[in-house]
Symmetry: C2
Subunit: 212 residues, 2 copies
DNA sequence: ACAAAGAGCACGATCGGTCGGTTTGTTTGT
DNA sequence: ACAAACAAACCGACCGATCGTGCTCTTTGT
């Protein structure tokens, strides 16, 4: 740190900029993200941002990649530390809700917000978001297939349908976290997934109690 | 109509303006709605809009009310023509998906988009959106209670939880209608609700086949 | 004649983006 | 070892476009 409190030279890296961009875009939207506000937050001039990215669109794409990294570290990684099967599926959903509940990003879900924004549009940003969503669904689907292979999920379960339903619950929790009564969105999302897993699994003792 | 193709005087009513506002806001967002674009679409000068509403915020609130009217006419009313019980619940969900699929509003769901936009904000618009969402959830909950009273739904079903889950499926279908593979979002939403109703109802013959 | 609806224009603010110049850290030549 | 050379990082000022909004004047229906 320098004496004036600003970041020292070199510490003002692309990653630091993108972390701030993710936070701002989560609240204001990926398009509503203001380069002026972002620069001001970082204590950097607006034109300085254009030294790293040639246009706002390039910065948006880089912001998406950074948000994916955060998602991998804070949602996917904790779930992968749990043995594969039903419990990993549940851990993934729990990590997701915890990620939303964390006060770091009070605006809900970066990807949910961005996907809503770009649902009816076209261009590279929309394509990247659609690609990320498809990959995410496929990942959850794979965890479901692993649970079947482990004999913890009924073999006739449609894992793609299951992944879609989990996604719906997670998205709804992120979206309505502020609009519905506080926390109730998370409680409903927990119960919905837990009920669904309990109905489809071969050994209910692998799942936690429904106490919450 | 006048000879230049514009709307005749008096036909340029508040309702006509608000219908256009709903359509534009569904695509661009309630905040991204441009008064200039709206005026141009209607063949009206921008300042003419301020004869009806004193500010953009007032117009946004009026737009929300108009969207609620459309929702009542095109989603709620068709369901209420079906006898109360399981079939009405299913009819409501089908009418909702049909409403999304209609090409009139290709931008997805007006309310879903607006709720996403205002999830992390405050003010009268946010409050009105939250109120509308609460009322909607309560309405679906009431249909569930009616189905229990009619003996068509298991009496121990948590109708509030059920309403929440249906909302999650509907929202996800609206959001991802363009991002996921075409139509697949609707197919998943249909199956999810149908499976859920089939598991909880007392007489499965009341529900349609799972052929689709 | 009168009131409402609308047109036209101008305003301040903010947006993404550009340009020229300055600072800084690293590399290279000797 | 030391300074010249270079490229990346960064700043302040500025541009054109668009935004919401207020003002004045004209048109129109009753």
């Amino acid at each position: 740190m320098t004496t004036d409190g600003r970041l020292a030279r070199g510490a003002r890296t692309r990653t630091a900029i993108l972390d701030a961009a993710v936070a701002l875009a989560t609240e204001a939207g990926l398009d509503g993200l203001s380069l002026g506000q972002l620069a001001e937050t970082l204590g950097v001039s607006k034109s300085g941002l254009f030294a790293h990215w040639r246009s706002k669109e390039e910065l948006q794409l880089a912001t998406i990649e950074r948000a994916r990294e955060q998602w991998s570290e804070q949602v996917i990684a904790p779930a992968l530390r749990v043995p594969r099967g039903i419990r990993r599926l549940w851990a993934l959903h729990e990590a997701r809700l915890d990620f939303y509940a964390a006060a770091v990003l009070p605006g809900g879900c970066f990807f949910g917000n961005a996907e809503f924004e770009y649902n009816a549009r076209s261009g590279p940003v929309r394509d990247r978001l659609a690609e990320a969503l498809t990959e995410w669904i496929a990942f959850v689907e794979r965890l479901g297939a692993e649970a079947i292979a482990a004999g913890e999920l009924e073999p006739d379960v449609d894992v793609r349908q299951l992944a879609y339903e989990f996604e719906a619950f997670g998205l709804n929790a992120a979206l309505r976290s502020r609009l519905l009564a506080p926390e109730s969105a998370y409680v409903f999302a927990r119960r919905a997934v837990l009920d669904r897993l309990r109905a489809l699994c071969t050994d209910p003792t692998l799942l936690p109690e429904d106490s919450r």
